[in-house]
Amino acid sequence: MAEQRTETGSDAAVERYGGAGRDTALTRRGGATTPLDTERGKTTIAEGVVTKVAGIAAREVPGIYALGGGATRAFGAMTQRVGIGDERTQGVSVESGEREAAVDLTVVIEYGESIPQVSELLRDNITKRIEGITGLQVTEVNITVNDLHFPGDDEQPQQEEPRRVE
């Protein structure tokens, strides 16, 4: 059963949506195997792959302005400048095993969008993409809305100065 808790603090409102808590029992029965661990061999997917898929899936959802928020994004901007960060995985944390994956996301949503609706679309798209590409069953997608983006937050374009040379 989906779990919804709303926390209001000094920062932007935070809503956390838990996963559906699917049955995580082992699916092996009488020799049956999982998509990644078959009798013919084992398929291993690096955790970074699942993280990357989750990050890309999140950016596909309308209403999501950015992943991460506040200090996370500032740190991420710094690591990207020095070449050790990847904006596709910023704000995304994944725990995955041989059969299942759990995802934690921190997002910035466009002001005016319905936070519950965008969050639900986000959960659905991430679940669909991870399960479709990796074969891992997504047990939960936890979403923290860390900030809202106002168009006025962006820097105003500088007024064009007259050219000094032709």
């Binding site: 998509p35 990644l36 078959t38 013919r40 061999g41 084992k42 398929t43 291993t44 997917i45 690096a46 970074g48 792959v49 990357k52 898929v53 890309i56 479709g132 590409i133 990796t134 074969g135």
Partner: protein, 121 residues
């Protein structure tokens, strides 16, 4: 140092399995390239040449478990892995090495978008 005897030796069979597995995996649609992995353990010495993206380890005398490590497109990875296994098994059968091939592991190290199309000639 003993001189190598003619005919297949365990080392030669292992190297041959590694080579055919690497070829089969690299030729599979959806595989971008092979990868030594992180840490770079999926490497096999094949006749003095370093072959990255595949390892072959003896599971029992004369039988080897082969693992290919790769970077893939964002396709359904379990199905891709099964196709790779089919191709490796078929290649081994054709080469007469079917009995020497044990389980086939597939490790997806990374996924990338389709590589950009090169400039028009």
């Amino acid at each position: 140092m003993p001189v190598s005897t003619p005919g297949p030796t365990p080392t030669t069979t292992r190297a041959e399995l590694a080579k055919l597995a690497a070829r089969a995996a690299a030729a599979t649609t959806g595989v971008v390239r092979l990868s030594a992995g992180t840490p770079p353990v999926h490497v096999t010495d094949v006749g003095g040449r370093r072959l990255e993206g595949v390892s072959a380890v003896a599971a029992e005398p004369g039988r080897y478990e082969v693992t290919v490590c790769l970077v893939a497109l964002p396709v359904a990875l379990p199905a891709l892995a099964e196709e790779i296994r089919e191709r490796v098994r078929e290649s081994a059968r054709i080469a007469g090495l079917g009995d020497a091939l044990g389980a086939i592991g597939v490790r997806v190290e990374d996924v990338v978008a389709a590589p950009p199309v090169g400039p028009a000639p």
